[in-house]
Every structure is written in C-alpha cells, then in structure tokens.
Subunit: 219 residues, 2 copies
DNA sequence: TAGGAACCGTACCGTACGGTACATATACTG
DNA sequence: CAGTATATGTACCGTACGGTACGGTTCCTA
C-alpha cells in the first residue's frame, strides 16, 4: 500500500495541495496566520471552495490534522529475532524518532493549535490528535516492548505502564518546553541513550548486564 | 515574609482583584473569553485603567502570569535528617504536588495561553512561564535530591539529569494530554508511588533494598 | 473648600475575521 | 454543441476585537 493512499482516499489532489499550504501557513505564523482569506490567497483557491470542502474553519483544522497524520508512517522494525543488543538498538532508534517527531515544526504547530483550541471546542482537536496522531508511534513502541517480553529480555506486568515509563524517560518535560517555544535538544542521541539505559535497568531481565548498565548510567 | 508581599509589591490591591478576575475568565473560557471589554465588565473597571496599568493586552497576560506565580509558594520540607523512608516519603509528596500543580486549572489555562501565543510573540510568555513559573518547584526538587545525595541515599553525577529523570517518570505524557483537554488522573497516588519506586531503583544506593523494590516495581 | 488624581462607564474608531453570494471561467459529458 | 458541475476571485455582510477619548464620580489632600 503506497504511503499516500490514505491521503488520496480522503482528499483530492487539489485539496491535498491546499491542506499542505495551510500547514505551511500554520507552521510559519501560528493559528493567527491561518485565516480563510489568507489561505485562499496563498493557495490560489476560493473561500467558497474551502467552505464547500471542509464545512467551516474547525473542519479545516480537523482536516489538516487528518491530512498530516495520513502522511506519517513509521518504519516498523520489530518482529525480527531479538538479541539484547538488537532490542537496545531498536529502543534507541524509537527514542530518537519520538524526539524528532515531537520536535518537528508541523507536529509542534498542530499541537499548539489543538491546545489553544481545547478551551473552546471541547477538546475536539485534542482528541483527534491523541487518538489518531500518536496511534502509529504508540503501536510501534508497544509492539517493540511486547516483543522484548516475548524474547525474555524485558519484564513487566502492564505493558501500558512500561510504555509510559519509557515515554517519560525519553521525553521528560521536553515536549512542553518545546511547545512553549524553547529550542529543541542539542544532543538527541545522548537523551535517547540515557533513557533506554534507564528503561533497561528498570525492566530488563539480564541481571549481570543490568548491574553493568546501572554503573554506566551514572557515567 | 507574608505570602502576598510580592503580589502587593508588584500590584495594588485593586489591580490584584482585576488580575484574579482575569484568571477566572481565562480558566472558564480560554483566551477567547479574555477580552479587554469582557474583563472590564466582569471586574467593574474601565478599559482605560487596564491599558494604563498593563500597557496592552500582552502586558495584561504577562501580569497575569506574574501575579499567579507570586501566589504559588511550595512548602519546602527538605533540610531535615533524611532516612530512606523519609526520602521516599518526601519524593512521593513532591511527585503528588507536581501532578496536582500541573493539573490545576489555572496552571493549565496559563500554559495553554502561553503555548497558543508562542507562535506570535516570540515565546515571551513561554519564557516567563518557564523561568518564573516552575522555578519554585524545580528548586524544591533539586534541594530534595541533593539532600538525598548528601545523606548517601542517592547517587548521580548530574543533578540536572537526575531531576529530569524524576520529572519524566512522574509526569510522562500526562501534562501534554491534560493540555490537550484529557481528563486528569484518577489515581495520583499510584502514579507518584510508581515513579518514586523507579527513581529509587535508578538512583538509590541501598542495593539490597533496591532489589526488593525492583521486585515490587512489577507488582 | 477648592483642586487634582485616579477611576468608572460608555461611546467611539479602525480593522480584520468567519462566512455568504455572485459573476466568471474551465472542463467534462451526453 | 449545449448543459452541468466544479472552481476561482471578488465583493460584501455582520460581528467582535484592541485600543482611544471623554464626561462624570469618588476620594484624597492642601
């Protein structure tokens, strides 16, 4: 299945072009810059078409989230035979990907938009973002740690708890800080490695390696 | 020093009343509900006074953050003699307080406001919130884990790293979820205990207790 | 008691937005 | 070729906002 099949199924090519332009405007100037008139001018389309396609402004915003989500597809590398090193490697790759996704300007702009709207629209956009936006990356992480458990490399009772632990170790308060406008990390790799070290200490099964990693955690 | 000395120093009583009303409006209806006319009507003051006191709307928003921050004062219980149990207790109290502060409606409303504005004002409000808003709670947590290290109960090289680890374990993605409009936790105590368990496994010094706690972490 | 500072309430101004209507152009289809 | 669907662009409407101006009131002070 090609990457843009979903996008094509939900939006015509013309609509996709307009939605891409809308995302560009949003990233550049925030939601104040995303006016119907401004979008119509920038995308060389008419306001009437915008309202015909998306209903109203909220429909446009929802379509933008749906459109962006349809373009994100994470590489799912789990399912292979897992060694300790492979598991660690996969976890670190996931952590780096997560930090890069969350720090991407489109993701930040959409999250800012949904957060700003959450007080007025009953969190409709927020729900959209949570349910569809993070679905892919959540699924990938859960598959990974479940595979780790099946291979006897990880131990935990509740996969949800374990995933949230991993998420917290990787992201900490970085997401909110970036949403507030702070510059992203200098060294994503270091942050990812540290988080995975800690996660393996907490949920790894190899005790002797665990002690070695524990010593390396305070390096 | 009384709690409201700072507030009184920065704002007159009348201004404090108006700022409190502004926060109420913001919490109830988001930034769309916080209009100068609406605030003047709700607080029984004139728009002219608002502009005289705060300059413009951005000045009002900044004053609201400053005003709210001046009212938050965290109880600093560190500095006592620390046993393992006392440290754990203090860490759990901190974790619960952190979750309650972040989930408070005023905090959420101000964070949503600053995040929404961050695209247009060059993150001025975001910087304000980060530098002054979390200063108190950060200081308290750092004092606590430093005291734990001095007492030989915790070990870490970088206090900053350790604090961010604790923060991530406690908060995970809850803050962003709440900002997006999701309902807060049902069981703050459980989340706090789990996070502190993990933190002590990672940075505690008592090895035998560490193993016992490690087993309890997957309970 | 006279003067002034601070403040309230209201009216006002310019602007910009969301949304609608219409006139025109392009393309597909029988 | 005629007719229909779809799209553009412009003009328009009502509304609501940020910000300013002004007359009237209260209160403090010389």
């Amino acid at each position: 299945m090609p990457v843009d099949t979903v996008a094509s199924a939900k939006f015509t090519p013309r609509q996709s072009v307009v939605l891409a332009e809308a995302l560009r405007l949003l990233v550049e100037g925030g939601d104040k810059a995303l006016t119907t008139s401004g979008l119509a001018r920038a995308a060389n389309c008419s306001k009437e078409s915008l309202y015909k396609w998306f209903g109203d402004r909220d429909g446009l915003l929802a379509a933008m989230i749906s459109f962006q989500q349809s373009k994100v597809r994470t590489a799912d590398r789990s399912g292979e035979r897992l060694s300790v090193e492979a598991l660690r490697e996969h976890l670190e790759i996931f952590a780096r990907d997560l930090l890069e996704v969350l720090g991407g300007d489109v993701s930040l702009a959409l999250n800012r938009l949904a957060i700003g709207q959450s007080s007025r629209d009953g969190s409709k956009l927020g729900k959209l973002l949570l349910e569809h936006g993070r679905h892919e990356i959540d699924r990938r992480a859960r598959a990974l740690i479940e595979a780790g458990k099946r291979s006897g490399l990880l131990r935990f009772d509740d996969a949800d708890d374990a995933y949230h632990t991993l998420y917290g170790l990787v992201v900490s308060d970085l997401h909110v800080r970036m949403l507030l406008g702070e510059q992203g990390l200098k060294d994503i790799t270091r942050q990812a490695r540290k988080a995975v070290d800690a996660f393996i200490i907490l949920h790894g099964t190899q005790k002797e390696a665990g002690e070695a990693q524990r010593a390396s955690a305070v390096r």
